[in-house]
Symmetry: none
Amino acid sequence: MKVLLVEDDVKISAAVSRGLRAEGFTVDIAMRGDDGLWMATEGSYDIILLDILLPGRNGYQVCATLREAGDWTPILMLTAKDGELDEAEGLDTGADDYLTKPFSYPVLLARIRALLRRAEKRDPAPVVAGDLRVDSVERRCFRGGFEVQLTTREFDVLHFLIRHAGEVVSKLEVLDGVWDYAFAGDPNIVEVYVGRLRKKVDHPFGKNAIETVRGAGYRLAGDGG
Amino acid sequence: MKVLLVEDDVKISAAVSRGLRAEGFTVDIAMRGDDGLWMATEGSYDIILLDILLPGRNGYQVCATLREAGDWTPILMLTAKDGELDEAEGLDTGADDYLTKPFSYPVLLARIRALLRRAEKRDPAPVVAGDLRVDSVERRCFRGGFEVQLTTREFDVLHFLIRHAGEVVSKLEVLDGVWDYAFAGDPNIVEVYVGRLRKKVDHPFGKNAIETVRGAGYRLAGDGG
DNA sequence: CTCCGCATGACTCCATCGTGACATAAAGGC
DNA sequence: GCCTTTATGTCACGATGGAGTCATGCGGAG
């Protein structure tokens, strides 16, 4: 699960991102409104946490621009103090929820989970490919009815592949979709994780679920098997 | 990949074009708005970088004129300073993105790549010719309902031919379109790949899907068969 | 008939991918 | 608090398939 946190207060963003990462979220941080907009447009996030008062472009504008562009990623608005946010205005620009600072971490987490559940219901992403199934809320994976134990990263990679089942996804797309924006490492890491996944979820016999398309990337078999 | 840069500041255009050429882009430069418009109309570019303040005709006008003429080449607007560009206005004329000067080169490059990716996805280019069909997302090729295994290069060449189905395309055009940039090698490579494609996708009997036009290039049969 | 452009099969080399081993960092048990 | 275990990412090496080169043969155009 990828979270985009757009917040210029370093203390808050540090605390929030640390907490969310401990929960297994992958967190990207933007400190300016325009940067946040850019990252939201380019990246693919499961949820966006958006401060109102931001340099570059305020939260309302970011939110409105995203919605105009047809991006309906769940947005949770963060507002510095009661009254700063005209709630009606915030919701009118297309935000899904708002939270007034100071907020406690458990409350934030609860709101995030609630939004994710709601978004999941509204727009269910494919979670099944062949006899593979993932449960994104519980972070569990099943093959043919039997559960397979996966680590956080392994799960994220598989989840990403299932959401793009049938498509060829390049290693860079996987990297962008699963790892931090700031991840500067070797794309070889994708090969490593695909390898680990194959060991765990591929059929012992028969054709591989994750197919290598040389020079292009990987393809998870779609409905066909 | 061909880039049209419309920019009257010589320092900027020199720096940008040098950088982009190093990345393998083919860069054409126009210093006036009307020249840029003409080049955009005449040539076929993958992306246009368009300054706002230009002699001859400003960037908004160039952009709007192109869109009116049905030209949907991705356009990245460049604006000299914050505030010069009324963003709403810039986007309303049909620009796909905008970038405020001064910008760093990596940011420019990232934006260009993002626009190209986006354009690739929304590109409704025909992917069917006769009983041949290619799916660029799944990177698969079918002849008469049966899948044909192609390597990356073979796929790219066939994809290019199908996008130009019915037209005669010269070997150089194929080279330019598939090998993208500065390929220093033997143009004979195109003949080699056409040969390999014929082996894989042509009918064992009956007329060839890929026709040789001696002295001019190749033509992939269009809807006719 | 002759020439030039195209077709084709064989061959080489290198980029890409797969994998096991290892360094670090975080989590958990005692 | 210390030690063990598990997870993440790095690296290097080996295997392999495909990209590109080349030489030769063919055939249409003039």
